[in-house]
């Protein structure tokens, strides 16, 4: 529950392995064991490529999907705990040192790690929203006693004390009709502009439809806003879901190459893209 902060350290004690295993250069085993080792400082967090873990987790999810076991929210959420803890650790250990030479690599790495975590968080809410939907549906068929108050009680309610003049009343109406808008003044500069996944998907599709495989790096070239990078990544995932693109990555942390694979693609597909994301 949102109000009962659970220290991430309890994960360590809970060694029940999730089904998700990772294979890295110097580690091969259950993902939460990986975390255990890191928290016990037996493995250097900076050595762990979260982007590889991301890819493996996505592959794992795909496998679960094919098994039809994607409902395993428990497993997914347990994984989330681990993954985000990992991310926190990694950020903490990366920031003060900053040893990596290639600034672009660092930026890409961080962006991808953040994407990874965002994706996981996104999935968690998406999955739990199914519970909301189911409960609301179930409860909407329930009937409660809600009948008019019997006249004898109604008559005996205390006399209404009315103090408003007709002009007061009109003023009140005016107040009631004034749309309740958030005071937007002075807030815009605090936030990056919102990014439309669909618009970014259009950009991605335009690049990919030229036929040549494109690297993810190329796809986000020139994008300065993290939000744009996030949106392009989510757009790619959405396109993948629609079997419109294929991915290729030869080695961990290697170049991610995206290939256009759609056979029947119309702009209508694009219109529906990202609908799940509310825009």
């Amino acid at each position: 529950m949102a109000r009962s902060p659970e220290p991430a350290a309890t994960i360590e004690a809970d060694a029940a392995p999730t089904g998700f295993r990772v294979t890295l250069d110097d580690f091969d085993g259950p993902f939460d064991l990986l975390l255990s080792l890191i928290t016990k400082r037996e493995l250097d967090i900076t050595e762990v490529s979260l982007s590889v873990v991301t890819d493996e987790f996505l592959a794992y999810l795909r496998a679960m999907e094919q098994d039809g076991s994607i409902d395993a929210l428990d497993q997914a959420s347990e994984f989330l705990v681990v993954a985000v803890t990992l991310l926190d650790l990694k950020i903490a250990s990366l920031l003060p040192q900053g040893e990596l030479v290639d600034a672009e690599d660092v930026a890409l790495l961080e962006a991808r790690d953040l994407l990874f975590a965002r994706l996981l968080q996104y999935r968690a809410f998406k999955e739990v929203s199914a519970w909301f939907s189911r409960r609301i549906d179930e409860e909407s068929t329930r009937h409660t006693r809600s009948v008019r108050l019997e006249d004898q009680y109604r008559v005996q309610t205390p006399e209404l004390v009315w103090t408003l003049s007709v002009d007061d009343f009109a003023a009140l109406a005016l107040l009631a009709f004034t749309p309740k808008e958030v005071p937007v003044v002075g807030l815009d500069h605090l936030h990056a502009p919102l990014v439309s996944i669909r618009e970014q998907a259009a950009h991605v599709v335009a690049m990919l439809r030229q036929g040549e495989p494109v690297t993810f790096r190329q796809l986000i070239a020139g994008a300065t806003e993290k939000g744009v990078i996030v949106a392009r990544f989510l757009a790619l995932l959405e396109l993948y879901r629609h079997a419109a693109v294929g991915f290729e990555q030869l080695e961990p942390l290697g170049e991610l190459t995206v290939r256009w694979t759609a056979e029947n693609w119309t702009d209508e597909n694009l219109v529906n893209l990202g609908a799940d994301y509310g825009q």
């Binding site: 902060p5 989330l80 919102l194």
Partner: protein
């Protein structure tokens, strides 16, 4: 007080009140209405629930499982038609079943439920989309409400309402499924992502 009113049959008085209410009634509210200690009222409610559920009485007499039941939903107690009779009563009640929430609205609702109180900006940063119209929809449906306005940023923070609990058929936010502690302390890592 109890000694002054020895005649008051507490379970009967409570069921009389429950006949006229149109909102869930908290135990505390009921206790003040009947002028009895909360503990007694709690016990009487438990007895009523068992009674309507048809459990045997203390003396072993078999009970009758009623066509209605007493449920604790949305922070209080209320009489409901027992689930298996919902189909039969449907024709008698012109419920305006509200339009279904969109997937986007459900997800936004989930974010607010787990991270409340939360500002629109913070929701948007999690959902990666503009959530203004969805938040308005949820406000209009009474599922969320304004909790407070941050005095510094002017950002309105939202929280869920008791109506949401009622519509979910639960009594408190604690009954939401656990999704993980990450949503508490994992936040910091995401704040800069928009």
């Amino acid at each position: 007080m109890a000694s002054e009113m020895p005649a008051l049959d507490l379970p009967r008085a409570l069921e009389a009140i429950l006949m006229v209410v149109d909102e869930p009634q908290s135990v505390v509210g009921l206790a003040s209405a009947v002028e009895r200690p909360v503990k007694e009222v709690q016990a009487a409610i438990a007895a009523l629930v068992a009674d309507y559920d048809g459990e045997a009485r203390a003396d072993g007499t078999p009970g009758v499982r009623r066509g209605f039941e007493l449920r604790e939903v949305g922070g209080g107690w209320r009489i409901y038609v027992r689930g298996e009779f919902d189909d039969i009563v449907r024709d008698f009640v012109h419920t305006q079943s509200p339009a279904k929430l969109s997937q986007a609205a459900l997800e936004t609702l989930a974010v607010i439920a787990y991270k409340q109180p939360i500002s629109r900006g913070a929701i948007a940063s999690i959902r990666a989309v503009n959530v203004d119209s969805v938040v308005r929809t949820l406000l209009g449906r009474g599922l969320i409400t304004e909790a407070y306005t941050d005095s510094e940023t002017g950002a309105i923070h939202y929280e869920t309402t008791e109506l949401l609990l009622t519509q979910l058929g639960i009594n408190s936010l604690d009954e939401l499924p656990k999704i993980s502690p990450l949503l508490d302390d994992g936040r910091d890592g995401f704040d800069d992502v928009r």
